[in-house]
Symmetry: C2
Subunit: 313 residues, 2 copies
């Protein structure tokens, strides 16, 4: 992982060194911008993020010769994060790894500012891990006849999936409204249909797919640990393998369920489990809670039909 | 928590703010000195630890007005550490909390050195947490007729316990040789009878008492996750309560088993589970592995007899 400059904002860049492809993600600070806020305070913060934070992180990452994302993700899973909506331990580890390099590349004042931000940030690793997940899924995104899900994403109206063997074609249906634990003052009526592209993490086995590893996250979703264990047990029924790199210590180091196969989904009628930040349905009003959502079965059935068509061509 | 100076070496100081008592622990770097090594490299390293590391950490802790150890320990348990022999996540969190203060109080060169040390140190929080455990157990150490274990410790020859109602009196028996996972090149014949005072952590419910929270530690001990779950389930049978502060998310936030009652130990014949660093039986040759040890039942029986005597006086 290293920092690169886009036209107006620094991005995280993750390189898949096995396949040579790269993926990118913007820098993030809090949830305001992500969830649609765009006031002056958000703009000011983004400017600081670009000029101070991202520049310092980028120089620190260069100083250390890049960061091994696979190792970071593996230890994150071992420390009770499912590395989609819980990054508490992974962010701490990220800061622990970067801190001496930040002290080295930045002046004193900027080092203090950036380290203060990282001290507070429970989601510091969300964005680079999204890019890492994308760099993994892109590597198997367009294999003829391959029935693995290569992308899952939501935009507040639709839930869409792509399947490797059907390439760039989207299969969509109305996005469900997630259910979970609401922040104080909100009701289920405030929740937007599911949104965001962070379910790229579920696509390769993190987040809702491996909730069993994150018991500390269950109270944030409003569930019991057994529910998390049951979810992950189900996810092994719709995936073709178990990761040799990303292990779940609570299952005696079984690998995370990896490779969602649309044939297994349609046969079992078990859809992937996605955990998700619930957004206010009024744009720009931020996050209202954390919950669980599952894509509609119909999009996997449609994708299967389309995939079978390709084999007749 | 804050740093104080002893005659020759800085110590961690932990204050129990409920009861006003304080406890202390030396600073540590690696396992060499702890496990008996005392060559020139150890001495040189200790000098650096004192002059640079401890001074910087002390100033950083003062700059932040002390560190809330209870919160640190609680999140450590949530991140898959049992905070006796696994401190991987807790040390990362400790570094994340201190980093900006280190950048503030130290000059650039020393900040880099200390942050580099913390980046590598998987046991940065072991010593302050031992002092914190002592500050908790000291608060109930001398209550007349109280049957709770207030200290457990080993010295390479004896395993000893103190009981609240019998005050400073030790009840001892030969220390068992721990069994677990050996580092490459060692056999069980190399293992010393159990040693060290770090079982103060078990005394208040950490370490072997709450192994269920640390599945990532099981492979280091050579056990399965179910063994860890069984251990903790047993520990609830010999303790009088569950901590309201230190929760185990994997048990849906049940508190750690707290307050080892010698009557329950002798009745059930279940002794406390202690996880432990296994030392080489040749002094100065360091650590040879990580394992499990349990104090002999006889010392609890003896303590019970002595406690009952006090009620006749």
């Amino acid at each position: 992982m290293s920092g690169v400059t886009s036209a107006n904002m620094m991005l995280f860049e993750v390189e898949n060194r096995t396949y040579g492809n790269r993926a990118y993600c913007q820098c993030r600070d809090d949830n305001k911008f992500r969830f649609g806020a765009y006031g002056q305070d958000t703009v000011d913060r983004l400017k600081w993020m670009h000029s101070v934070w991202a520049t310092t992180i980028s120089n620190a990452l260069k100083d250390m010769g890049g960061l091994d994302m696979r190792e970071l993700m593996a230890v994150g899973l071992e420390m009770g994060d499912e590395i989609h909506n819980r990054h508490f331990a992974t962010s701490a580890r990220f800061t622990q790894i970067l801190a001496s390099h930040i002290a080295k590349v930045a002046n004193k004042e900027e080092a203090i500012e950036v380290l203060q931000q990282l001290q507070q940030d429970r989601f510091a690793t969300l964005n680079p891990i999204m890019a890492a997940a994308k760099s993994i899924s892109d590597a198997f995104a367009k294999i003829p006849y391959c029935s693995l899900v290569s992308v899952m994403a939501r935009n507040g109206r639709l839930f869409g999936v792509k399947v490797s063997g059907t390439g760039d074609r989207w299969f969509t249906a109305p996005a469900p409204v997630p259910v979970g634990m609401l922040l104080p003052g909100f009701t289920q009526d405030d929740v937007s249909p599911d949104m965001g592209d962070s379910t790229i993490t579920e696509t390769i086995g993190f987040g809702g797919m491996c909730l069993v590893t994150a018991p500390g996250f269950s109270s944030q979703v409003g569930g019991k640990v057994q529910m998390f264990a049951d979810f992950t047990a189900d996810m092994y029924k719709i995936t073709i393998g178990e990761s040799p790199h990303f292990k779940l210590p609570v299952l005696d180091n079984r690998g995370v369920p990896t490779g969602i196969d649309i044939f297994r989904v349609t046969e079992t009628k078990i859809t992937p489990v996605c955990d998700t930040g619930m957004a206010n349905k009024i744009a720009g009003h931020g996050r209202v809670g954390t919950g669980i959502t599952r894509p509609p079965l119909s999009i996997f059935e449609e994708a299967q039909k389309a995939l079978l068509e390709t084999s007749k061509q």
